[in-house]
């Protein structure tokens, strides 16, 4: 069934192969740059964008230090100060730290794993545009003087309508959620790509440790972000429509926000740290001149860290009145999380101790990291002790700790990685006369700034105050902190100057300048858009020697060392063994991700300006554009196994069961399921903990409508199976699809009917609001199911779905199964709510 359309250009000389591949993979000039989908281009853009936001957030941080340098300063008024420190934290966390580690992952991961690109290049581009637009909304709000001002964690009730009536809080809720779309889409993309698109032969036990770090981080993102997204949606609904999820006077509870925020917030520290630890685990063995000690122990430690980091969110809430016994779970967890972290630290130290360390600029920053992170880790263990936390809570001690673990543990490995991989990006090396003093300025300035904050905190200085009297004993400490801040800024400025000097005057480097043993150095530097002219095959016996390998790959001696049909081709492999199993044809540059992001931005902006009818229209347009984008994705006919080089023939991804899209939907459902579980948690939390819940409730939801909703969802799921069977057997599926559409429309109608009948009214009490949210979730998912079905209908018509290409129909079946399961749970809880309220009435 092998049926290549064009004659293969096998055996082409390296230069010819390069020209042919570059013509296929390169992003066009001028405006065509907006159509870029290549991971190198997007990764680089994300890096530049995140460092731009870092610079803005850094300036904001400096402004706060100017204000606090002396007592009774009139540099800023309190309102401006609130916006400045809120935006400093929000931008550093949401617009710099997370996107920056993602940009590293996007740019480096395919190269380190020996492949040409990610699984879903258009999703990469969409994620980038969402990030850029969301970040721009937040930045513009700062210029307009309407920036968020409730602190970077937006605690309710301060951020609710009563105390923040303008759009400041809405900017945060909608802007950050917009940015999180980017984080989630990239997380799914990264998980799928690491598991399915590696160099053939790269079994999981041979995968570079960087891959493990990024894989676990991306999985953490899939589970960490949904609680915050849910919290932001609920708070925005409260602010916009008055549904009182967080209003204690109407059965809500402000602490629910804290739970949802910190369910995201604590793992987020590790989401930022782990990729940087991955960079360290890559860099340290290179400079120690020996392999990393304890590869398997580190993998186990990363998995342990990922889980433990989720189980200690309450340690940010030790002072809210939770009983001691429950606090002790989280206190013990907060202490024990130091163990897997220590496993990594000792593995790095052992690697250095058993090797012959070379001291170069990246290693200076590694040294800085060790010093800073151990200090931050130790103050973290101090804060894990509840009585100490009660004393230090909301003081500058916490600010100091947070900057040591988040800023220090991010900035120093980031700069180590920056100097390590910069020759790959630029083809040139750094100028030591600048980079060494830059390090010492950053290191000295950092410690001067933030070490002093431990002391001001212990002397009782609270966070977020815009000035102080001057008689508290904080004056000289604050002044030193501010001086340190400026010293650190000069250090960062030197790093930037060093970058420009390197780009202009840096010495050209030979390939693999550090003598590393990872695949990103087995390519031309700076990398070509296709990364590898041919894809390497790894064997167990051979060590990776990037220098030799690069020449062989450039000559096309690996897999896919030719071009075919103008396709962007790469290989999909078995998840665990890394054996090649499919040929993946990637999409070409397109403006669709940009247009989709514009449409999504329109939804966000219309919601921000409370133009809800327009927001609905924009949402429908966005949904329609997604369906349109998918309309002609993939291959419109069967090809069967095709030669990929090395004597191997593989089917295209459209004709295999384990296509990347299948795994991507599973990742999406994991994230979605986390959001749903968080919603259930919210419902039970309000039931058990919120004040002002009624003792009993008489009107009950219509059982008939609930049954109708569940039954129609079941019909839709069954019809999806019918359409799948029909197409797989060569038959027609339109009847089944029509039946599924009708069933979903009926389910939506039933859910909307139930929402209309919710009692108490969703605006009157959190009980009704919770029921409405659960029902809304069901209706929304049924609506998305309709999009799946419309897409199936169009793609069958266009020939992209056939008996051997049934992936779309399997995806629809999975989505409708999920919708049915969550629908049954949601309806069950809505029906059980009156009984739960009656139980509350029986409470002593």
């Amino acid at each position: 069934m092998s049926e290549p359309v064009e004659q293969l250009s096998q055996g082409a000389p390296a230069l010819r192969l390069h020209r042919e591949l570059a013509a296929i993979w390169a992003t066009g000039p001028g405006l065509q740059r907006l159509a870029a989908v290549n991971h190198s281009v997007i990764g680089m853009r994300m890096m530049i964008t995140s460092f731009t936001f870092f610079a803005i957030a850094g300036v904001l941080g400096m402004l706060t230090r100017v204000q606090l340098a002396t007592p009774n300063a009139a540099f800023m008024d309190p309102e401006t100060y609130n916006q400045v420190f809120t935006m400093h934290g929000s931008m550093m966390l949401f617009l710099f730290a997370i996107p920056m580690v993602e940009s590293f992952a996007v740019y480096l991961t395919p190269k380190i794993l020996g492949t040409r690109d990610f699984a879903f290049p258009r999703l990469t581009a969409y994620g980038y545009w969402c990030y850029l637009f969301g970040g721009t909304i937040l930045t513009v709000s700062l210029i307009a003087g309407i920036a968020p001002d409730g602190g970077w964690f937006m605690y309710t009730p301060l951020s609710s309508n009563v105390y923040t009536p303008g759009i400041n809080a809405d900017v945060w809720l909608l802007g950050v959620t917009f940015v999180e779309i980017s984080a989630l889409s990239l997380a799914a993309e990264i998980v799928v790509s690491i598991l399915k698109i590696r160099a053939p032969g790269m079994a999981l036990d041979r995968m570079p440790i960087f891959g493990w770090y990024i894989l676990v981080t991306a999985l953490m993102m899939l589970v960490a972000f949904p609680p915050l997204i849910l919290g932001s949606i609920l708070l925005e609904i409260e602010r916009a429509f008055g549904l009182p999820f967080f209003d204690p006077t109407r059965g809500g509870d402000p602490l629910l926000w804290q739970h949802l925020f910190w369910l995201f917030g604590h793992p987020d520290v590790y989401i930022i740290f782990l990729p940087m630890a991955g960079a360290l685990s890559t860099i340290i063995p290179v400079f120690a001149g020996r392999p990393l000690v304890g590869y398997r122990a580190i993998v186990v430690a990363i998995v342990a860290l990922a889980f433990l980091s989720f189980g200690i969110w309450v340690h940010h809430m030790f002072t809210v009145g939770i009983p001691h016994l429950a606090l002790a779970f989280f206190s013990a967890g907060s202490a024990i999380v130091a163990v897997p972290t220590a496993v990594q630290i000792f593995a790095w130290l052992a690697t250095l101790a058993h090797g012959m360390p070379r001291w170069s600029v990246p290693m200076l920053y590694v040294f800085g990291f060790f010093f800073i992170f151990v200090m931050g880790g130790l103050t973290g263990v101090m804060l894990a002790v509840v009585p100490f936390d009660w004393q230090a809570h909301d003081t500058y001690f916490v600010v100091a700790h947070m900057h040591y673990v988040v800023a220090g543990a991010l900035a120093f490995p980031m700069l180590a990685a920056f100097y390590y991989w910069l020759p790959l990006l630029t083809g040139r090396t750094a100028v030591h006369r600048l980079s060494v003093p830059a390090f010492w300025l950053v290191f000295f300035g950092f410690n001067l700034t933030f070490f002093m904050m431990h002391l001001t905190g212990l002397l009782g200085m609270p966070r977020r105050i815009y000035t102080y009297q001057g008689n508290e004993g904080w004056n000289w400490l604050n002044l030193l902190s501010s001086v340190g801040g400026f010293v650190m800024t000069i250090g960062f400025a030197l790093v930037v100057i060093d970058l420009f000097v390197q780009l202009r005057y840096g010495r050209r480097v030979r390939r693999n300048p550090w003598g590393s043993a990872t695949l990103e150095w087995a390519m031309s530097i700076p990398p070509a858009p296709y990364a590898f002219a041919s894809i390497p095959h790894l064997t167990r016996t051979d060590a990776i020697a990037p220098g030799d390998l690069a020449l062989s790959l450039a000559r096309g001696e690996g897999y896919l060392g030719f071009t075919r049909n103008g396709w962007q081709e790469t290989l999909g492999v078995h998840m665990t063994t890394g054996e090649p199993e499919q040929l993946i044809v990637l999409p070409q540059p397109t403006y669709l991700p940009l247009f989709n992001a514009f449409a999504t931005a329109a939804v966000v902006l219309t919601l921000l300006f409370k133009l809800y009818l327009l927001a609905l229209v924009a949402a429908l347009v966005t949904a329609g554009m997604f369906v349109f984008s998918a309309h002609r994705a993939g291959l419109a006919r069967d090809y069967g196994p095709m030669p990929v080089g090395q004597g191997v023939n593989l089917p295209p991804h459209t004709e295999v069961a384990e296509a990347p899209a299948w795994l991507a939907l599973i990742c999406t459902l994991v994230a979605d399921g986390t959001l749903f579980t968080s919603l259930l948690f919210g419902a039970f939390y309000l039931w058990i903990a919120a004040p002002n819940w009624p003792a009993a409730i008489t009107p009950e939801p219509s059982r008939m409508l609930a049954l109708l909703a569940v039954a129609t969802l079941a019909v839709a799921a069954a019809a999806a199976r019918g359409s799948l069977r029909a197409v797989a057997n060569g038959g027609r599926a339109r009847g089944w699809i029509g039946l599924a559409v009708l069933a979903l429309l009926a389910a939506i109608a039933a859910a909307v009917g139930l929402i209309a009948g919710v009692a108490p009214h969703p605006r009157e009490h959190a009980l009704g609001a919770t029921a409405a949210a659960l029902l809304g979730y069901v209706a929304l998912h049924a609506g998305i199911g309709l999009l799946f079905l419309v897409s199936n209908f169009l793609r069958i018509g266009a020939g992209f779905i056939a008996s051997r290409r049934i992936l779309d129909l399997r995806l629809t079946r999975l989505w409708l199964d999920y919708t049915l399961v969550t629908g049954v749970i949601a309806m069950g809880l809505v029906l059980a709510l009156p009984a739960l309220v009656t139980m509350l009435g029986a409470r002593p």
């Binding site: 999981l204 398997r296 998995v303 889980f307 429950a326 054996e579």
Partner: protein
């Protein structure tokens, strides 16, 4: 090409131990909150919490027995051996974490 492919579902074993740890933490936190809200007696609430923890420890013990008994299939090669070892160690880590983080707190004052 000599290794037999390890089914991808076996990757879940890497997360299984700590998934049970998460389940234990959430269950204990929830039962404790419900017990305190409905003023269960200190004795019965403590007993309930101990039962929840014990049930999870049993599950982990069963998983540990199951995974250590099932020696690595030699056909799966070094990759199988690596994943098997990593799964055992994550399970051991989760078991230790459960005992250390969830056991001692049960001795504290129940709803204060």
């Amino acid at each position: 090409m000599s290794e037999r492919p390890i089914p991808p579902r076996r990757l879940w074993w890497l997360a299984a131990g700590f998934a049970v740890w998460c389940s234990a933490l959430v269950a204990l936190y929830a039962v404790h909150a419900i017990g305190c809200a409905f003023a269960w007696s200190a004795g019965s609430l403590r007993l309930g919490l101990a039962a929840v923890l014990f049930a999870h420890l049993i599950v982990m013990g069963w998983m540990w027995r199951d995974i250590t008994r099932a020696s690595t299939d030699p056909d799966f090669g070094p990759t199988g051996k690596f994943l098997h070892g990593a799964a055992i160690w994550t399970l051991v880590a989760a078991l230790v974490a459960s005992v250390l983080t969830l056991g001692p707190p049960l001795l504290l004052t129940i709803c204060m």
